[in-house]
Amino acid sequence: MNPFSSGTRLRDMIRSIRACKTAAEERAVVRKECASIRAAISDNDQTFRHRNLAKLMFIHMLGYPTHFGQMECLKLIAAPGFAEKRIGYLGLMLLLDERQEVLMLVTNSLKQDLNQNNQHIVGLALCALGNICSADMARDLAPEVERLLQFRDPNIRKKAALCSIRIIKKVPDLAENFVDPVVSLLKEKHHGVLLTGIQLCTDLCKVNEEAFEYFRKRCTEGLVRSLKDVVNSPYVPEYDISGIADPFLHIRLLRVLRILGHGDADASDCMSDILAQVATKTESNKNAGNAILYECVGTIMSVEDNGGLRVLAINILGRFLSNRDNNIRYVALNMLMKAIAVDAQAVQRHRATIVECVKDLDASIRKRALELVYLLVNESNVKPLTKELIDYLEVSDHGFKGDLTAKICSIVEKFYPDKIWYIDQMLKVLSEAGSYVKAAVWHALIVVITNASNLQGYSVRSLYRAIQISPDQETLIRVAVWCIGEYGDMLVNNIDMLDIEEPITVTESDAVDVVETAIKHHSLDLTTRAMCLIALLKLSSRFPCCSQRIKEIIAQSKGSLLIELQQRSVEFNSIIEKHQNIRSALVERMPVLDEATYNGKRASSAPAAVSASLEFASNLPNGVIAKTDVAPLVDLLDLGGDEPAPPSSSGGNFLLDLIDVDMPPSSSQSVSGTSQPQKSGTDVLLDLLSTWSPPPQKESPTTDIVLLNQDDNTSVNALDSVSSSMVPSGQAKPTGSAMMDLLAEFGPHPETPEDSGPTYPPIVAYESSALTITFNFSKRPGSPQTTDIEALFTNKSSDVYTDFVFQAAVPKFLQLHLEPASSNTLPGSGNGSITQKLHVTNRQHGKKSLVMRIRLSYKLNNKDILEEGQISNFPRDL
C-alpha cells in the first residue's frame, strides 16, 4: 500500500484532461491515469479507492473503456461507511447496466443495505436497485422493497415505490404483492410519496388486470378527490411552479385517471367535473399550465364520451395550434392526430392552420403536421390540400421532400376525383421532385394513362410540355418517353384535344428529339435508356418519315458498354432493317393494362408471380393479340438464326418476357403450333417451347416444377420457374433486362383463373429422429403478405407423445398467429398426426423471406422432452 502510487487528485486529473489541446494528448493523460488506477486496484489500495472510482467515472464519461473498475464498485458498496457506499453505488449505476453478469454479485450487498437502519444507506440501495435491477434481482429483493413501502421515512417510501415499478416491469408476476401497499400510498399527503404511489398504481394497472379492476373500484373516487385538493390548494411555496401547485402531481393524477376512466362510464362520470375544471381554470400562459392542459386533453379524449368535455378539449387544442410557441404547436399537432379518431369534423376546422404548419421552419413540426394532413384528407378536400402541398414541394428543403412526395402521391392515388386531375397532379410531382417518386407510383401512373383512352392524347402532350420545362427529372423522362413511344401519333396530330388544352404544334422530329435527348443524357440510367430504345422502335413505325433517323440513333447504341443496350440496339436495328413487314404489328400499342390487377400487384409489392383476373384475360381481343405475339416470337427465332452469336440467356428472357407479357392462356397452343416449324432456333427456345406443350409431353428437367402446378392451365408460374432454371447462373432475371421486366409487370399475366395466387410446394420444416413437421402453404387472395401455413406433425417413433405443444417465434417484421392444434396427443408409428394452422404476415413482403424458430415440447413415457429448431427453408416470396 503505497499512498504515492495513486497519483493526483480528481480535480487535478480533470484539470489536466481539460488542458489537453489535442485528442492525442488527452488519450495520453487518460492512459497514464488508467495505468495508475489499475496499479492501485492490483495493490488492493483502500485509501484512495473512492477517488479512483470517481476518476474512472469521469474517464468513462469521456468514452474510454473502464470495465476494469467494475469490481471496485462492488468493493466500495460492501464497505461499511456511507461515503464509500455512496460513490460505490454511483459507480455501479454508471459503469454497469442490467445485462452484466457482475451485477449478480451485488445482490447480497443490496439486500444487506436494504435492511440497514440508516435511511440514507437504504435510499442509496433503493436508488441503485430502481435504476439497474435485472429480473433475477427483482425477484430476490422484492420482499425487502415491499416492506420498505411502509418505512417510517417518507423519502424511503417514495424511493421504494419507484423501485417497485421497476420490479413489476421486470417480473409482472410480482404485481399482486404491491396492490395493497399502493392503496395506502394513495392516501398519503406527502407529495413525493403520493406522486410515486400514483405512478406505481398506473404501472400496476398496465401489467395486471385484477389490480386494474381493483383500483378502478376502490381508488377512483379517492384519486379524483386528490386531484380536486391539489387543483384547489392554496399557494404552497415549496411546490409552486409559476402559480400552479405541483404541476407534476396534477399530471400524474390526470394520467392515472385516463387509465381508470377508459372504457368505464361510471368512473368517467365521476371525474368529468374535475376534468372540466382543470380544462377551464388552468392558466395557459406558462409551460407548466400548458403541460397540465395537454395531459388533461389526453385524458378527456381517452375517457368515455362526454360531448361537452370533448368540445372543450378540441378548443384547447385549437388555442394551442394558434400559439406562437413552437412547442405548444407541436404538442397540439400531436394530440390532434389522436383526436381525429374521436371527432374528425372538429379537427377539420383547423385544417388551414395545420397546412401552414407543414411549411414550418421546424422539422419536428413539419413532420407532425404532414402526418396530420395525411389523415385529414378526404374526397371533399383533396383538391385544395394537394394544391397546397404541391406548391410547397417547390420550396421545401431536400430532407423533407422525400416524405412530402410520398405523402402527396399516396393522397392523390387514394382520393383522386377524376383521372385528368390525377394525371395533372402526378405530372406536377414528377416535374418537381421526380427523383423522390417511388417506382410503383409512376408505374401506376402509366397504368392509369393506358386505361384512360380519352386522356392519352392529353397526357402525352402534357408530358411533352413538362419535359421541356424540367428536362432533368429522370422519372418524368421515363414516363414521357414511354408515352411518346406509345402515343407519339397523338402528340403530333393533336388527337383527342380537350377543350381546356392549348393546341401545340409538335412535329414528328420534335418527338424523336425528345427521346434522342433522353438517350444521350449523361446522367440517366440503364432502365431509362432501354425504355428510350423501345420508344424509338415504336416511333419508327408510327413516324415512317423519321425511320431513317431513328435507325441511326438506335445504331449508336450498338457500341454501348452495357450489354443490354447493345443487344437491344442490334436487335431493333435488324427489326427496322429486315422486317418491315411485321414491324407495325410488332410494335403495336400496348394492350390496356388492367388497373385492378396492377393495384393488386402493388399491394403485394412483389414484382413476379401475381395473380391476374380471368375476366381480364377473356376481355382481351384474343385474335389480335395472338397474332402480334406470335410475330415477335417468329422474328426472334429468325434473329437467332441470323446472328452468328448464339442468343444469350437474356435473349431467352426477352422471349419469355414477351410471352409473359401478352400471352393469354388460350393462345398458348397457337404459339407452340406456330413455332414448331421454326425448330431451327436454339436449344433455349426449344426448352422454352416445351414448357408450353401439355404436361404429359414434359421433358424431364421441367417436369417436377410443372407437377407442382396441378392446375390444368400451364400457368405463368411454371414459366417463371422454368425461366429461373434455364438461366445457368441461377438468377431469375439478369438486371439488364429491367425494361423487359417492366413490360412484364404491366402486362396482363395470364394465370390461374381462380385468383388463388401462386402456389408453393410443401416443405419439410423440421425433422428429428423423433418426428417430422411438414408445412403446407397457401395464400389468401388479396392479401399477399399473409401466408396460411398448415403444419403437419408426424411421429416417427412407435411411442405415443402426449401433452404435445408446438411453439413458434418470429422476427419483428413478421406477425405470427397460431390456431389451436387439432390434438395434443401424437400417436406413434404413423397412426395419425396433428395439424395446426399458422398465419404469418410478412410486413417486408418481397424483401425478406420467412424465418421461424420453433420449439416442441411433449411427454414421452411421462418424460418431458423439448426440441428446438430453426426453419429457414421457406419458399421465397412468402
Binding site: M61, G63, P65, A83, R86, I87, L90, M93, D97, R99, H120, G123, C127, N131, A135, N155, K158, L162, C163, R166, K170, P172, G192, T196, K206, E209, F212, E238, Y239, I241, P247, F248, H262, N287, A291, Y294, E295, S302, N326, N327, I328, Y330, V331, N334, K338, A341, D362, S364, K367, V805, Q807, A808, A809, V810, K812, L814, Q815, H817, L818, P820
Partner: protein, 229 residues
Amino acid sequence: MTGRSLHRFTGDEQSKSSSFTCSLQDAKLLLDSFNHGSWSEGSSETTVKEKVKDKFRDDGVYFSFRIEHIHFVLLISRQGKVRLTKWYSPYSQKERSKVIRELSGMILTRGPKLSNFVEWRGFKVVYKRYASLYFCMCINQEDNELEILEIIHHFVEILDRYFGSVCELDLIFNFHKAYYILDEILIAGELQESSKKTVARLVSAQDSLVEAAKEEANSISNIIAQATK
C-alpha cells in the same frame, strides 16, 4: 381461443393507433426484457395475463409496454462534450456512444427558435439549452413533452440552488454531485420528488454524512501519523 405472440400483440396495437399506442421500439425493449416473451403457443387455456393482454389489445388505446418513462438523460455542452449521462433503459457501451453522437449531431445544429422536441428512432428527445449546456431527456412517443421540459427545469433549478448559480465548470468538477442530485429527482426514469427543498435537504444531509466520515478518517490518520512519528 387463439395463441398469441408478443410481436403480434404489440404490432396490432400500433396498427389500430386510435390513440396512445405503443411504438415498435417499446416492443423491442419489451422483447429485450422478456427472455421468453416471444414464444407463441396454440394452447387452449386462457390465463389471466392473457386475458389482460386481450383486453388491452382490443382496446388498443393507452396500453403501452414501456420500460421507463424517461429512457436516458444527457447533458451535452455546446461543443458536443458529454457532461452527464444517465441511462434508465439498458444500452450497451457501444450504443451509448452512438446515441450520444447521433443526438448531439441533431440537437446542437438546431436553430434557437425551433421547438424543443426532436423525433429520433421512434422516440422523442426533449432538450433545453441553459447557457452552454443542453439538457436532453429521451421519452416515448406518447409521453408528455411539456412535462419533461418542466422536469428539466426542475433539475436545473435544484442544481442552481445547490451550486449557487450553477455553471458548466461546476458540473465538470463536481460531476458526481450532479449525479447525486439527479438520483434524488429521478429513479427508474420516473420523477420521485416535486419539492426542490426536499431534494436539497436530502442531498445536503448526505453530504454532511460524507464530510463527517472524512473528518473522522482524517483525525484517525492524524493520530496514526503522529503515533508513527
